[in-house]
């Protein structure tokens, strides 16, 4: 029980600290904050586990772990699973395509939007679009593709090939269509 309690406490600190940091610092790339912060809080969990008594000062004996090593590891796993859920929540709610569409509709209110109006909101004046427009430079910046500036040919890097191949395997494993 001690591992679970400390895990939840440290996870709460992680959430509050990253939310506050995002609000104040306004990072351009939130992933560069979330992942390092999750790793940074993990030692805090370990240290708090080691330095606190087995019963945390209040747990009944029957709730005290008889295998502290297992309890410690369990708490750490729970922490990272929760951190993964939190980061996923962020990217799904704040960066997700579905949410972006729904926010447009929320702002439109009861009159709603036609499909054409929604699509035009994602087009750029030069004929480009806001889906590929930021995504391609980001994929190039993070090393998944290269783009020839003269021919506009996109090519997968080794890293990009690995991720794409893994995606294909997983989609087949889960019996999914092209998706996206």
């Amino acid at each position: 029980m001690k591992g679970l309690i400390l895990s939840v406490a440290v996870f709460t600190c992680y959430v509050v600290s990253t939310a506050a940091a995002c609000h104040i610092l306004r990072p351009r790339r939130h992933a560069l904050l979330f992942f390092p912060a999750a790793l940074a809080w993990a030692p805090v969990y370990y240290i708090s586990y080691v330095l606190t008594p087995a019963d945390l000062g209040f747990l009944p004996r029957a709730w005290t772990a008889s295998l502290p090593a297992v309890d410690l590891l369990y708490g750490l796993i729970v922490y990272f699973l929760n951190a993964h859920s939190y980061i996923d929540f962020f990217f799904a709610f704040n960066g997700g395509f579905s949410m972006s569409l729904m926010l447009e509709l929320l702002q439109a209110g009861e009159k709603g939007l036609s499909t054409e109006e929604i699509i035009s909101g994602y087009r750029l004046p030069d004929g480009g679009d806001k889906i590929y427009g930021w995504r391609l430079p980001r994929l190039e910046e993070t090393g998944y593709i290269t783009i020839d500036p003269q021919t506009n040919v996109c090519r997968l890097t080794a890293k990009g090939r690995v991720v794409a191949a893994l995606t294909r395997i997983l989609k087949r494993f889960l019996n999914l269509g092209r998706g996206g």
């Binding site: 029980m1 679970l4 939310a19 609000h23 939130h30 029957a62 709730w63 772990a65 295998l67 297992v70 369990y74 796993i77 729970v78 699973l81 929760n82 993964h84 859920s85 962020f90 709610f93 704040n94 960066g95 997700g96 395509f97 949410m99 972006s100 569409l101 729904m102 926010l103 509709l105 929320l106 439109a108 709603g112 939007l113 499909t115 929604i118 699509i119 994602y122 806001k130 889906i131 590929y132 427009g133 995504r135 998944y144 593709i145 506009n152 040919v153 996109c154 090519r155 997968l156 191949a165 995606t167 294909r168 997983l170 494993f173 889960l174 019996n175 999914l176 092209r178 998706g179 996206g180």
Partner: protein
């Protein structure tokens, strides 16, 4: 405790494996509903396994001094978190526009193509129309006289998102350029 954790992992692996196999036989149109039903259906098995499943000696270690309810609690917690992890990974693979884009390039000869070639099969018109259909099928939006509006479920999610966007000072996909 170890018994609870072992049982949680075994039952999760069993129901998730069974569900993925079943999706090959009879794919569900609403995969989230299928995953949720799978999780709920596995709960009685979790209880049954915790009390009845014979496990190796190492999985019984330490169970003498701890209350049995603690082991069960840890089993339920881990089982739930594994379910969340499975759903999250599923949607990473299924919904990601970026992964779809990388896959489109991989499928081209020599793993390279011009952007216009990708756009001809995976363009934003199709992307948006498909996603709106998915949202409609999942009761987030509906069409009224040719115009898309949020249903109450969609309004709730969008409102939460608006607040989250403020907290994290983030931009939607439309706002990034």
């Amino acid at each position: 405790m170890l018994r609870g954790l072992t049982v949680a992992v075994l039952v999760s692996a069993a129901w998730i494996g069974a569900q993925i196999a079943w999706m090959h036989v009879r794919p569900a149109s609403n995969r989230f509903r299928a995953m949720l039903l799978g999780y709920l259906a596995s709960l009685p098995f979790l209880l049954l396994a915790y009390f009845r499943l014979p496990l190796p000696q190492f999985a019984q270690a330490g169970s003498g001094t701890e209350a049995w309810s603690m082991g069960l609690l840890h089993a339920v917690v881990l089982h739930l978190l594994i379910f969340f992890f499975y759903v999250e990974c599923f949607y990473h693979v299924e919904r990601s526009v970026t992964l779809r884009f990388l896959l489109e390039i991989l499928d081209r000869p020599e793993g390279a193509c011009r952007l216009d070639d990708i756009r001809s099969v995976y363009n934003i018109d199709k992307m948006i129309a498909t996603r709106l259909d998915v949202l409609a099928a999942n009761n987030y939006v509906e069409q009224r006289q040719g115009r898309w509006v949020l249903k109450s479920k969609g309004r709730l999610f969008a409102t939460v998102m608006k607040f989250s966007k403020w907290v994290f000072q983030s931009q939607t996909q439309r706002e990034r350029l």
